[in-house]
């Protein structure tokens, strides 16, 4: 239980996926312009990442390893994630059109969100159990969401700020991300695995 809790909090605050490990930086920079889209993307990521980790863990443990196919890991994982995203899209459209409206455009983008593949790969590499992997995925995706939402809040204000022309746009966003990452460094060492 204690280990589960520490995995959960470590990947939200200490080993934050975006700010400390650099997974999912592309969507972090891409969709953090508006709070609304940031929240939509966050929800989609939490959902897909948890599902994807669950499925890839099961496939890796019960199909790839017993049949000595571990070298197919990358191909298998990315295909699972891509088809899972498609499946989620179809199911969501059927059962919850409102949620689909909200998440719709973000779902296809998630296939190339490297944070999703990274969680799946790291869960296997760190030899987490199934429950630990799922908690790891939830923690990592919440960490991603936290970073994304904070960044969106800051960027909405940055729009109006005065700054030199060469800094405007991506340069100042990256520097802000750096300062944010520095702030998260303050959590270091609070919990260890």
């Amino acid at each position: 239980m204690e280990k589960l809790l520490s995995i959960f909090f470590i990947y939200i605050f200490i080993d934050n996926f975006v700010l400390q490990r650099f997974f999912g930086v592309c969507p972090f920079l891409g969709v953090s312009r508006k709070m609304e889209t940031a929240i939509g993307m966050s929800m989609a990521v939490v959902f897909v990442m948890t599902m994807a980790t669950l499925v890839t863990w099961l496939i890796y443990t019960f199909v790839l390893v017993p049949f000595n196919l571990a070298f197919l890991q990358i191909v298998a994982f990315i295909l699972i994630i891509a088809s899972l995203v498609q499946l989620v899209e179809i199911v969501l459209r059927k059962i919850s059109p409102t949620l689909y409206q909200g998440l719709g455009i973000f779902l296809p983008l998630i296939t190339t969100n490297c944070a999703v593949l990274a969680v799946a790969l790291l869960a296997v590499r760190q030899e987490f159990s199934l429950l630990e992997s799922v908690i790891f995925a939830i923690g990592a995706s919440l960490g991603f969401s936290l970073a994304l939402v904070i960044m969106a809040g800051i960027r909405e204000r940055l729009e109006l700020a005065e700054m030199p022309d060469v800094l405007r746009g991506s340069a100042v966003t990256l520097i802000t991300a750096g300062i944010l990452s520095l702030a998260f460094l303050g959590f270091k060492g609070i919990i260890t695995l």
């Binding site: 650099f22 070298f71 191909v75 590499r125 060469v166 990256l174 750096g178 460094l185």
Partner: protein, 209 residues
């Protein structure tokens, strides 16, 4: 029909004008993640470039066979195959680099530079052009990684060619206190942000667009 750009233009556009990292801001994860040391940064750049060239060639050869509805999964399978090959090669011949790059090697699969070039260029052009485009973008990507890792290693560690003790060169003597910030994740973001600002102003000055 529109006049086609020359082969030379096809090759050079990815290096400066449409540099995948410095201009298009694609494939940021490895750019930030592995650039604490020059050796790792350049290794990552070359590995990604190799995958990019190979996948551009194959996608271009298969461009008339792949049905447009399922093209993205097809591209991903092609890319994933080459990434698996690169991963095995690195593990066998360059175990130190493989260890240092860690999970970023399999993550080349989801590098948007590679999928982007497959979708936007290789699937619409002949193999020779696709390969030239791949080589150009690959060089551009590696160049960006080299620049950022140079900045980060020199300021953050005070060395080049580290961390291997046999090749490492200490630039500023024993008394130098490195600015550890730049070796840390926060420094990666800040260094890349500043680098982009410099690149922006240089591009503006010399009118590269």
């Amino acid at each position: 029909m529109k006049h086609k750009p020359s082969y030379w233009q096809e090759f050079t556009k990815g290096i400066l004008k449409e540099n995948p990292v410095l201009v298009a801001l694609l494939g940021m994860c490895p750019v930030l993640g592995v650039t604490a040391f020059v050796v790792n940064g350049v290794g990552m750049g070359l590995a990604a470039a190799a995958v990019l060239i190979a996948s551009n060639l194959v996608v271009s050869l298969l461009r008339n066979l792949i049905p447009p509805q399922v093209r993205i999964p097809c591209f991903i399978v092609v890319i994933a195959t080459f990434v698996t090959i690169i991963e095995m090669v690195l593990e066998a011949f360059l175990p130190v680099l493989y260890e240092a790059l860690g999970v970023f090697v399999p993550l080349i699969v989801v590098n948007c530079v590679i999928l982007g070039r497959a979708e936007a260029f290789a699937s619409k052009n002949k193999p020779l052009r696709a390969v030239l485009d791949g080589v150009g973008s690959g060089i551009g990507f590696t160049l960006a990684l080299l620049l950022l890792s140079l900045v980060r290693e020199i300021i953050g560690q005070g060395t080049i060619l580290g961390p291997d003790p046999e090749t490492v060169i200490h630039l500023f003597g024993a008394d130098f206190e490195p600015m550890i910030l730049f070796a840390q994740p926060a420094g990666a973001f800040i260094a890349l942000g500043l680098l982009l600002a410099v690149v922006n102003s240089v591009y503006k000055r010399f009118n590269i667009k």
